[in-house]
């Protein structure tokens, strides 16, 4: 059951003060980054069936983005079309899955069909599970929690000096058959690989 969600998010905008503004900005940047990751990552041919099929950005868990992906919609008139899909937190999915197995299966299927999957921090405990679920399906897993990369995530956002940066796990990327362009790798604050080599930009 693939639900095509319209790009225009009609999520309520929660005002929570100045902090919320900063947070909003942060997730706006992250949303832009996520969108831009598409331009610097090559998915295997099997995943990208047709060139004009939209790239699917999935968000699983408690969505922190709000309507941060709104500007992305404006870009739709270019070649790259983008779809935003929201998934309920895994626990919820599992619960509803008990009732309706096919629903769970459908959701998992949809998850696997995503090109990029942002795992919200609400799913911290289920990182491994999620990553396992999508691990052979060439999904670029993105997160913004500590230890994301160690758990097998591919790109992890970090904030440094009020700037949004990111770190990349190249082994995970390779396992997912994703090719990350060196231009993007260069910008990662930290690049982690299974060979034990941790190349740190500042090191």
């Amino acid at each position: 059951m693939i639900v095509l969600v319209p790009v225009l998010l009609v999520a309520p905008c929660v005002v929570q003060g100045a902090d919320d503004n900063a947070a909003e900005r942060e997730y706006q940047i992250k949303a832009a980054f996520i969108y831009n990751f598409i331009k610097f990552v090559d998915w295997p041919k099997e995943k990208v069936a047709e060139s004009n099929e939209p790239a699917i950005i999935g968000i699983v868990g408690k969505d922190p983005f709000g309507n941060a992906f709104a500007p992305v919609k404006d870009k739709e008139d270019k070649d790259r079309k983008v779809l935003i899909k929201r998934f309920k937190p895994i626990e919820e999915l599992k619960k509803s899955g008990e009732k309706d197995k096919s629903l769970l299966e459908r959701e998992i299927d949809s998850l696997r069909k995503c090109h990029l999957l942002f795992i919200c921090s609400s799913e911290e405990k289920s990182i491994n599970e999620i990553i396992n679920l999508v691990k052979d399906y060439s999904v670029l897993t993105i997160g913004d929690m500590q230890g994301f990369l160690e758990s097998g995530g591919i790109i992890n956002f970090i904030t440094e000096e009020k700037k949004v940066r990111f770190e990349i796990n190249v082994t995970a990327a390779k396992r997912a058959k994703l090719k990350i362009r060196s231009q993007l790798l260069r910008l990662a604050k930290r690049v982690v690989g299974d060979d034990g080599g941790k190349s740190n930009k500042d090191g």
Partner: protein
Amino acid sequence: MLVLQNMTIKHKLISIIMATCIVALLLAAIVLILWEWSTLRHTMARSLSTQAEMIADNCKASLTFNDPDDTKATLSALHVESSIIFGGVYNKKGELFAGYYRSDVGRKVQPSEIQKSGYTFGEGFLTVFKTIILDGEIIGTVCVRSDLRPMYAMLIRNIRIISVVLLLASLTAYAVSSKLQNIISAPILSLAESATRIGKGHFDHRVEVHSKDELGYLAQSFNNMAEDLQTTTTSIDNLNREILQRNQAEQKQAELLKKVESANKELTDFAYVVSHDLKAPLRGIKTLASWISTDYADKLDQNGKEQMNLLLSRVDRMHNLIDGILQYSRIGRVEEKKVQVNLNELVAEVVDMVAPPQNIAITVENELPVIEFERTRIMQVFQNLLSNAIKFMDKLEGHVRIGCVEEDGFWKFTVADNGPGIEEKYFEKIFEMFQTLAPRDDVESTGVGLTVAKKIVELYGGRIWLQSKVGEGSTFLFTLPKQETEVKDAQLQASIVG
């Protein structure tokens, strides 16, 4: 232009060739330099554009993910090209995202505003802009700026090289043209020199013909002219010599003529004087003899009287002879005026004068012409001929026929008698002085008559000769040229008729 005109052919040719070469070379050099300049600009612009493009390509991610340090690092690679003084990446808002400045320049080399993709030469810089496009979207602009020093340096180096080449080429052109101008100038100079030589009088000088071109043709014509000149001068020389010779000959002739004339004159004068002087004593002798004959008639016997008569007759003969000589000498000495003489009238007069005896008839066969002649002379001719005919007539019935025909521009007169005739061997002799055929005792003749006639006729360009048969008669013929005698014939005819 005047300077050019007065140079020698050699220098003219070299100058022309050099001027042509230098102009052509300069033109080529200028075009080359300009073309190089243009190409250089394009090359520089292209190279810089390439660099800008590479930078654009390499900072797509850092621009997207807002990492200016990474961009700076990318830009810093520009330092390798020492002429690049600024390299910058601008975001889509036009703000400078990251910049590179060459160590020795400050911020001021930044362009004041961002322009569209492309390059401009200005303010002493080459500035290149390149938009950074990611996924069909403009996310920023790259700007690279370099100073033009290397370009200028290259240009100056090229100009120097071309100048050196130009110089060498000119020198070579000079050397080659110096050698080759000979092809044209040598024949011309040789021609000029030959002209001078010939002008100085060496007409036998010829020019060597080497080539088949216009100069060769000129040399050939020149030789022909010289040939003609030589021929002409030679013939002129010859003519001059001939003229000189002729003049000399004429002079000699004139001198001779003078001598002859003077000799002739002398002789004539002499004859005249002598005969005149001879006559005087002769007259004396005659007078004395006559007196003796008369005064001493009674003292003389028959023999004596006879001898006195003989003496007187001899004296008379001598007188006649002297008269004859005198007459002869007069011809040609005393020149009469030529007048129109009607020969019919004249002959009638002469016939009267000679008074032929009754047995001799003198007839004029045909109309005699009117001639322009000295009257006395022509009278003498007829007189002598007629008197001879009468004197020697031996027939009982004698006739003398006078006639005239026109022949070859001459009047041919005939006086024919039926006298004794003359032997052929005497045809020439009788015209000689003092020659008589009959002994003087038989016929009293001076022997000068025919001589005189001959002299007169020949003096006027005519001829006198005779035809004769012994026993039957003689015909004397003489010719007188018509031109001399017939000038006013028509007028006289008119006057006679009128």
